[in-house]
Amino acid sequence: MTLATEPFILNIGPLHPSTHGVFRMRVVLDGEIIQDVEPVFGYLHRGVEKLFEQRTYKQNIPLSDRLDYVSAINNNWPYVMAVEQLANISVPQRAEYLRVIMAELQRIASHLLAVGSVMNDMGIFFTAFMYMFREREKIVDLLEMVTGQRLLYNYMRFGGVSQDIPTEFLPALDRFLKVMPGYLDEYDTMLAGNEILLSRTKGIGVLKAETAINNSASGPLLRGSGVNWDLRKSAPYSVYDKFEFDVPLGTAGDCYDRYIIRMAEMRQSLRIIKQAVEQMPAGKEKTPTPLRLRPHAGETYTQVESPRGMLGCYLVSDGTEKPYRCHFRAPAFINLTVLKELLIGQKLADAIIIFGSIDISMGEVDR
């Protein structure tokens, strides 16, 4: 006797712990194997690009924090850089170094959250997550010391940053730089050879380099497939050309490589911060700009390497005090293009890990 079978349709999300926000996947299953995936976007769409056109240039800086709320400082950067280019605002050297220090601290905090939450997804419930949060807390304390905020910092300004570092910041940063490598070693001992991690990530979600490039993937997702592409190296912005650091690359392109790359990038960020503190000159933290800022008419495109990949800002000015058009190239949104290709043919339980290893932030995906 044969049993009649039919594909099973399962909705994952939008409210589900593994979707890291309000993302929804409509999955067609044959038993445990995924036959088709339809990602559904838009649950966090706030129309940020339209809001940008309705506010003045300065009012828009805090809005840019809210694109990717896990790495708010990195999200300020392309926008302020675009306005600085159009309005010919010069940035003092000290401000550039402050931006680098804060952005790299933010990158470590973001990667810690990314790695910790994937651990949750694969069944190491909250042990690894809480270890990661121990260090993330220290970084958030440092950022709070400078900006007064703990999540959305509103730190960058046209022509610099909102405020210089207080006197107690550098000693505290120094303590952090001393202890953090030890913590990273601790993770490597506990996690890099961890049975659960290895069996759930090795050879899972393999992304070939050509596929990654064809799908416009960027960030750790692209570098995990062995493509040497980091904007801090290949198109150095700000003062990144003055630091020595490596770009960690994967070989297999699986979830394990993406994990290893995030861990290695944290060490490189520490190297950059250390050099930035040594090289940072004295001086002003900001060039004064007029309150009613009117950049010259024209258009520009600026980009930075955010923790999730290439984050760009396409800005069109018509000479008035509001942007005419402002578009953000959101790396998390574009990285999700490859999701379908990665998931079809995989087991449902692996799909959660693969999705987590892309590391999205819904504020940026939906905008």
Binding site: G42, H45, G47, I213, S216, A235, Y301, R325, R329
Partner: protein, 152 residues
């Protein structure tokens, strides 16, 4: 990433192949909508150019026309080139580049959703962030949101 490509010489080579469809501006090549897929394919597949990475696609509404901006990156040569396409506002249609780069799929859907420019040849031309049945395209300059613009 550098932009030290000789745009004029690329434009000349393209003109030989595709006729008067390419104009070299200071920062970008302006191409016609019909020639876009051919030119993009040429830039992608010609050895020495190797623009294999579609960085960004977006559009802007200039009330009398739409302008689409494509940024192509050659990871091998560390260079970037920008293409611009103008298209009319009524019955706005552009050939899709999703066949060349899958990375264009979601971005073109987003442009369709927010500007109402439809991409011919796209495998899945639906709204992406707004829901089916939503009226209008919010990033068009003449879009009025009922509650927000009630006072105007």
């Amino acid at each position: 990433m550098t932009t030290n490509l000789d745009l004029n010489s690329i434009a000349l080579r393209l003109k030989e192949q595709y006729g008067q469809v390419v104009f070299a501006e200071p920062d970008y090549l302006e191409v016609t909508a019909g020639a876009l897929p051919h030119i993009a394919g040429y830039l992608k597949n010609t050895p020495g150019l190797d623009f294999d990475f579609l960085d960004m696609v977006t559009a802007a509404d200039y009330t009398d026309r739409f302008e689409l901006i494509y940024r192509l990156v050659s990871i091998k040569n560390n260079t970037v080139i920008a293409l611009k396409v103008k298209c009319g506002r009524d019955r706005a249609e552009i050939p899709s580049l999703a066949g060349l780069w899958k990375g264009a799929q979601n971005q073109e859907r987003e442009i369709y959703d927010l500007f109402g420019i439809s991409f011919t040849g796209h495998p899945d031309m639906r709204r992406i962030v707004l829901w089916e049945g939503y009226e209008g395209h919010p990033l068009r300059k003449d879009f009025k949101e009922k509650a927000y613009d009630a006072g105007n």
